[in-house]
Symmetry: C2
Subunit: 535 residues, 2 copies
Amino acid sequence: MTTKEIALTGRSILAGVSVAGTGATVHGADPATDRALEPGYTLIDEAQLRIATAAAEEAYASFSRMEPGAHAAFLERIADNIDAVGDELVTRAMAETGLSEARLTGERGRTTGQLRLFARVVQQGDHRGVRIDPALPGRTPAPRADIRQRQLALGPVAVFGASNFPLAFSTAGGDTASALAAGCPVVFKAHNAHPGTSEIVGHAIADAVHEAGLHPGVFSLVYGQGSRIGQALAADPVIQAIGFTGSRGAGQALVATAAARPVPIPVYAEMSSINPVFLFDGALQGDVDALAEAFVGSVTGSSGQLCTAPGLVFVPADTGGDGFATAVERALAKASGQTMLTAAIADSWVAGVDTLGAQEGVDLVARGRAGATQNAPAPAVFETDVSTFLTNDTLHEEIFGAASMLIRYSSPEELVGAASRLEGQLTATLHLTDHDHATVALLLPVLERKVGRILANGWPTGVEVGHAMVHGGPFPATSASRTTSVGTLAIERFLRPVAYQDIPDDLLPQPLRENNPWHLNRRLDGRLEPAGNDS
Amino acid sequence: MTTKEIALTGRSILAGVSVAGTGATVHGADPATDRALEPGYTLIDEAQLRIATAAAEEAYASFSRMEPGAHAAFLERIADNIDAVGDELVTRAMAETGLSEARLTGERGRTTGQLRLFARVVQQGDHRGVRIDPALPGRTPAPRADIRQRQLALGPVAVFGASNFPLAFSTAGGDTASALAAGCPVVFKAHNAHPGTSEIVGHAIADAVHEAGLHPGVFSLVYGQGSRIGQALAADPVIQAIGFTGSRGAGQALVATAAARPVPIPVYAEMSSINPVFLFDGALQGDVDALAEAFVGSVTGSSGQLCTAPGLVFVPADTGGDGFATAVERALAKASGQTMLTAAIADSWVAGVDTLGAQEGVDLVARGRAGATQNAPAPAVFETDVSTFLTNDTLHEEIFGAASMLIRYSSPEELVGAASRLEGQLTATLHLTDHDHATVALLLPVLERKVGRILANGWPTGVEVGHAMVHGGPFPATSASRTTSVGTLAIERFLRPVAYQDIPDDLLPQPLRENNPWHLNRRLDGRLEPAGNDS
């Protein structure tokens, strides 16, 4: 792949215009060396933010009504522009995050892949949710009017970049992609830990907006202080929904701001999950070392900085479980720390691990080796029992990074009881064989009400982007359990239904017109009427 | 229709058991005479409430997994049981609400009709949202797991009865029907203004639960003080969603309680709407008296106590508009007041009309005659201009009852400007001819972002229950603009997606099993795969 020359500017992109902020300058830093990276990024003020939101509002009318082909081509163009940047994007992201080239190359593919997937969704059009109940003029005692329903883009959306996915949950990540696919202009607030990566991708999007001839307000990228500009963005009357991935505290602050607005708006915050894993007897009859190595790989991959990293493993209290714990010890001996995203995140992880290790009834199973770079602490796995876990809330908190805890259980009943006491989670993982189905059947109804995704004989990290994925779950995993932030269903977060009754055909929006100009599948009097456009 | 003998007990139904409350006794009252009605209803306490919620939680496991045929039969049985009550239901509802026999007979049909409609939805099964992305074991660089998604019932739901629809938005109304259809047990809090009607319908549901052999916790009916038991119900950890129709203040109180819970839950509150109507030049070229009579009919029907009653009419400031105002005067002369739901509601309406009439720049067009009964004040229509309307917030508030206001506009631009300043609404209504399409085309994009339903050349009252209806809209019309409380889409409020990854087939829930035992339409790798079960 050839690499485009990129001159980073340190500026926000306000509706297509590169603008220096009036505020302080922040620098990214290489967490492997704690060295600041150039250029500095100037932070904007509220008046500059309003340039972006006002332009987003202006862009809404035309953008939300785009014809499917042009709309899909726009999303593909963003992906093409990101690809065209070449390796400089991965290089910059590596420098800003400490993540590996392989991880970031994969993440770039996921980012462009989901843009192209949403392009197909836009082209296919089922998200428009067309329902038509035709008029029944002869019905008694009263005739029925012609009523048609479609899903309309909510309006401009604010998206907040996550620290841990500088590409796939950031500037052109899942929230941006699904909001743009829904027809919502996006004002994106960069995460200040990877400002250069954000700028590169921001230009790829802004260029696509320009090349597609769209209103420049369709996309803005802003650098600002979270507690000031982030909150101002969430409170801006133009903004109609918020997409966020990050900490429970920051997510809850956005939820509170959105609820306190004169007109409250939905917040899709993906926040906190410890992703319990359940090992059943049968699964411990097999290759326990392979199982433990895969577990340690899932805990330590990306330095454990994944929303779905397995933070708890329920392990039988018998000799089979002892064997697994010993195998984890062996696997950890081969694991070394990797650079974490920022010095602050590494410090917070160290403090969390120290706190956990100091709890009564919590023992260290093993630690790996510290990495050679800065901010690369040694991975840690602890152990406790169910009753200790249930009586100490500290053991239920997410430690963001490469740490996990084995919880030894004595019976299926104890396991089900412990599961019922968990908070909402993104995932639950089962390791089982045919031998274990009866026990698992007891646990599944509990887990279904706690999590967004249940998986068997794998590990929760590595979230597939498809049509059936749910990356969501009850609070505190997310602030909106009825949604997902990964996969094509994510588009529904940015749409709402509007009904049209007896509106003359030429005044109807295109999706609802009688001759179905966009060839959409429609629900006619409740029956699906395929348009034959699925491919 | 034969009529069942009904002995009202004055008691709550807690999971199938008739229980006297430990608290005060309240009586319904005949608003036509202000006479108290027997029996008194004893209000429950928090411990009694917990009997209902605990039973609902117990009922969830089996109820949420019901096979579609039995589930649909249960909903139909509720409708049959309501029909079997006979005319005593309408008689009691008339006594408690002052609404007419014709209106209540129609409302009963709507209530049973929507239960039967949801029975068909349950049988058809698209609300289960089955998506399957099959495994791709040979994919590179990494294989894809088998991932399946379905929509799961949220859990027990609290439903609050509305005063103005003692049947269709009450005990077995739209919220109850859609929650039960989703597989959610319901704890229903009766509106204390029609306790007897609630009890009759409550027994019809509880009997259906018993006759279908379901867990009795599937349905409870409770009488309690709103600020105490209503709030306790919203705060109960068992409850996973709230359905409400009523005032903005009460709705907002529920929203605040739900947000302050340790685990927040969604609130579907339908609250406040003044339902603007827009008259265009062309529409005033026709039979203006017929138009005015239909308008007055929509304003005064059910004594104006409908969520969709037209509270504002934008009328041209020219002679065509003058003609409409004069026609409204003529039509109102023939309109007489009808008994309102309660003395308190009538008093509140009188105060609201007095306040409105006293506003600077607001003139009375005409009033009808007061009715012969108690609490039947004379309908009123006022008039003002756009600039007065835009500068006085009082003119934007809902007056619940038979009152409306003409707002005279001078130009399409002024009209669009005024529309853009409206709060969120359930409906917007257009009266137009072909002559007006250019002007309407300017207004429609504004209205789409303000309302749940746009209708032409009709009146917003009379909400069709179908697949395409949206009875919803941006705040303050509702607290959840992405939903509807009428029509089959309402079921989605009580469901959330859960994904299953590589789960063995015999452990999967029925909707996701490979052999598709429930014959559901499925989305396979994004493509619709009809099961041929639409009928």
